[in-house]
Subunit: 484 residues, 2 copies
């Protein structure tokens, strides 16, 4: 065996594909799950036809996304679905593009405020995004109306949906980031995954094969699986999620699914870097309706977390910023109750672009989301509230205006042992760059890393993972003096 790749996600598949193209024929991709794709997972709806991506849904940065360009040339489908956001407040209804409040314009000013704090000054202390946004409101209250104070920071919280972390935990320094062009909704990522997997022999992939240990002895890497199979390779590329890799740092001997024992242990720069990263959890819930009973003109709705007049009074009345922080702490603990209006929710109106229409404790999920779901569909001009039609798929409902919900599909990335959360998320003071630099350097010249968390350009994105696979393949090919 020349190269063993751990993980058949997009980075592992791309590593194998590129190595094969370079002429390396002894490749093995070991995958713990019973399928390829990793966190790219396309599932089928209740009608057995419609398909949804539970993992990444978008090609980001489409001005410079080479995987996107390649996919388009290969005939893979996508939709540029960036759209004007509808913002819905529980009490007030639609608050987007309000001629009096103009919250989008204040939201843009908050982003500039963060930019000035962290990129036009040196040495500013990182705080939570909530603290930063509140400081903006406090400092600029003289220039803001009561309604702008009440709602604008809630609008800016749509960024939680990018990071998968509550704003009380999110690093203010890391909250805003640049987009390199529009986002393209992929239809669906399995076509990309399969296309790349098809570029090398399928025998190279071993499914349901969890790796137990990676041991380097001189110039060989010995990879041992759960079934005690040993692969002796010249190189090993580890592409497991960072949140799973973190288990390797724990040497308590506790048995944990997905944990790989490194021998020698992960090097110091990797171990140190784990101190400055955290992991978010971004869940996706797909609501499948029988028929579209709402407008499909707008594609994006965000429901805002509930606010109160008391918040405005606190901002207006605060003598100093510390008093405000005390108030916020109290508010935060009050918000711990599980309620669909305690955080922003982002609804993608898929019915806009193709046809909408299904798994866990669906009725509980339904109860949780129902108020927000009704508010969202109302903002899209639905005439009636949602009917739960999930428990008997054959039951007909007479009202032609009522949206009938037939299925809910929910991700479980945070519980699933080979994912353990979404992607890297920065808490205040974190720096994801340390880890990228440490993993990019590798454990050694023989034990390498690839994945969305090992690159600068495209970090956290599918194309970033894909590029990191190419990078490691090129590195190994050069070391192996492969001429192709």
């Amino acid at each position: 065996m020349t190269v063993v790749i751990i993980g058949a996600g997009i980075s592992g598949l791309k590593t194998a594909s590129a190595l094969y193209k370079h002429g390396a024929k002894n490749i093995k991709v070991l995958e713990s799950r019973g399928r390829i794709g990793g966190r790219l997972q396309t599932v089928t709806g209740y009608d057995g036809i419609r398909r949804y991506d539970l993992g990444a849904s978008w090609h980001h940065d489409t001005l410079c996304n080479d995987l996107f360009f390649e996919g388009v040339d290969a005939g893979e489908k996508y939709i540029f679905d960036d759209d004007f956001f509808i913002y819905v407040d529980k009490e007030r209804g639609r608050v987007d593009r309000d001629p009096q409040m103009r919250l989008e314009i204040v939201d843009r000013e908050i982003s500039k405020y963060a930019d000035m704090e962290y990129y036009q000054k040196l040495g500013a202390k990182d705080v939570s995004f909530q603290e930063l946004a509140t400081r903006y409101l406090f400092e600029k209250r003289k220039y803001l109306t009561d309604d702008q104070i009440r709602y604008s920071a809630q609008v800016s919280r749509y960024l939680e949906l990018w990071h998968g972390v509550d704003w009380t935990q999110l690093s203010a320094k890391d909250t805003y980031f640049g987009h390199q062009g529009r986002n393209a909704f992929a239809l669906n990522y399995d076509t990309t995954v399969n296309r790349i997997a098809d570029t090398f022999p399928s025998e190279c992939i071993e499914l349901n094969t969890e790796v137990n240990s990676v041991k380097q002895e001189n110039n060989k890497v010995i990879v041992t699986t759960n079934d005690n199979e040993e692969y002796v390779a010249d190189y090993c590329v580890v592409t497991i999620p960072q949140s799973v890799l973190e288990l390797s740092v724990d040497h308590s001997g506790k048995k944990q699914s997905g944990r790989i024992e490194f021998d020698p242990p992960l090097n110091n720069s990797i171990k140190e870097a784990f101190k400055s990263v955290h992991f978010g959890g971004l869940g996706k819930v797909i609501f499948e309706f029988e028929k579209t009973r709402w407008d499909t003109t707008n594609g994006k709705v965000v429901t805002l977390a509930q606010t109160s007049e008391a918040f405005v009074d606190a901002i207006r009345g605060a003598d100093d910023f510390d008093n405000l922080l005390t108030y916020l702490d109290k508010e935060n603990s009050r918000m711990m109750t599980r309620n669909c209006w305690n955080q922003p929710l982002y609804f993608n109106n898929l019915a806009k672009e193709y046809i909408e229409s299904i798994q866990n404790d669906k009725n509980k999920i339904f109860d949780f989301f129902k108020p927000a779901l009704d508010a969202v569909l109302k903002s899209l001009n639905a005439k009636k509230s949602v009917i739960n039609g999930m428990n008997d798929l054959n039951k007909k409902f007479d009202d032609p205006d009522a949206p009938v919900l037939r299925n809910i599909i929910v991700t479980n990335w945070t519980q699933e042992p080979y994912s353990r959360g979404a992607y890297t998320a920065c808490f205040p003071g974190d720096d994801a760059l340390d880890m990228i630099v440490a993993l990019d350097k590798g454990q050694s010249s023989r034990i390498r890393f690839a994945g969305e968390h090992t690159v600068m350009d495209g970090a956290g994105c599918v194309y970033g993972a894909w590029k990191s696979g190419q990078r490691e393949a090129d590195y190994i090919a050069e070391k192996m003096n492969l001429t192709k």
Copy 2:
């Protein structure tokens, strides 16, 4: 005389004010016009009550604009008038926030494309903004609809209204710039000008006094006026517009209003810097109506330059980018005809915020703008087209829905000898920074410069000019060992 300041615009007044506060009492401000304020000029409408700023209208960068903060504390009025733009095409009518075209989203992508070209790469050649936008359309045509190709670059041309230069001349590198927060419409700038002028004795200001020459002899600066009056000073601060200062570089002996003869001549770094700046011309036309006969919900309307299907065909059919450039050259010469649909126009719906309600060849101006004006008012839901009621102010018009135009006020900054254009504008390859550095350094330790064109932060803005005045006052006070 201790300090002679040339120009009683905001920078000259601030220099005098700050010097006076520092304890310098022998100050003279020489102003060629019969009024103070320079390019800040507030005029009165046809009813003798309503007032308009012909020069700067906005406080920009209000997150960090100290003049704005000071003005607010002094009770000066303003309105945060940033608003969602209405875009009007001659044939198609409103094209803003169109659910199919989503031009604002493509416009944002064009700005990111420029950013990637000039700030994420090194050594990219500067071209005209038209060439850059067209290259975007050409390279990305596969990802754009016909309508997006036709209209999106026209939307991005609203930036011409910031620079005062046609996109065929505008430096692509310089087109986009950062805003530090919202823009606040000033009501009106004369209150600011007068407030600053009131901080030092009015006898310090000499109006109608044009300076002929500035001569340095050892440690004295001799300033001579048109009336052959001589002021011998320790320091001289020149605050005239850069476009007027440029006349000093011409030593042909031609007599030109506003030209100052420097002896010794302007130093080499200043002379060299004039090779890399140009001047734009941003005209303002105020249309005063008898009554508001349209909606006041939206404050901003941009009429787009006319486009054609042929343009889309040219983009789609081009084999290479050079062919496209040839096509563009032809288009540009075709567009030389004077027509209100050959460039973007920016309409500020002042009726939105206070009450709206007239001088040159007003009827000609009316004829030029009428088609665009009607399209704009239609986009604001006016029921009838504009009636010219300027020639007899006493004449009544019966139709209660018709907007009756009573006055047009037009700026003449480009013809006026002490302005000679708007502010600095960059042509492809220009670099305004050279001039800022050269003027900030000064002609000598005795002959200094202030003005909106001598600063980095706030360049081209009122607060930038104001800050430069403080800077020069502080410089001179330190040299003079003033303790206050």
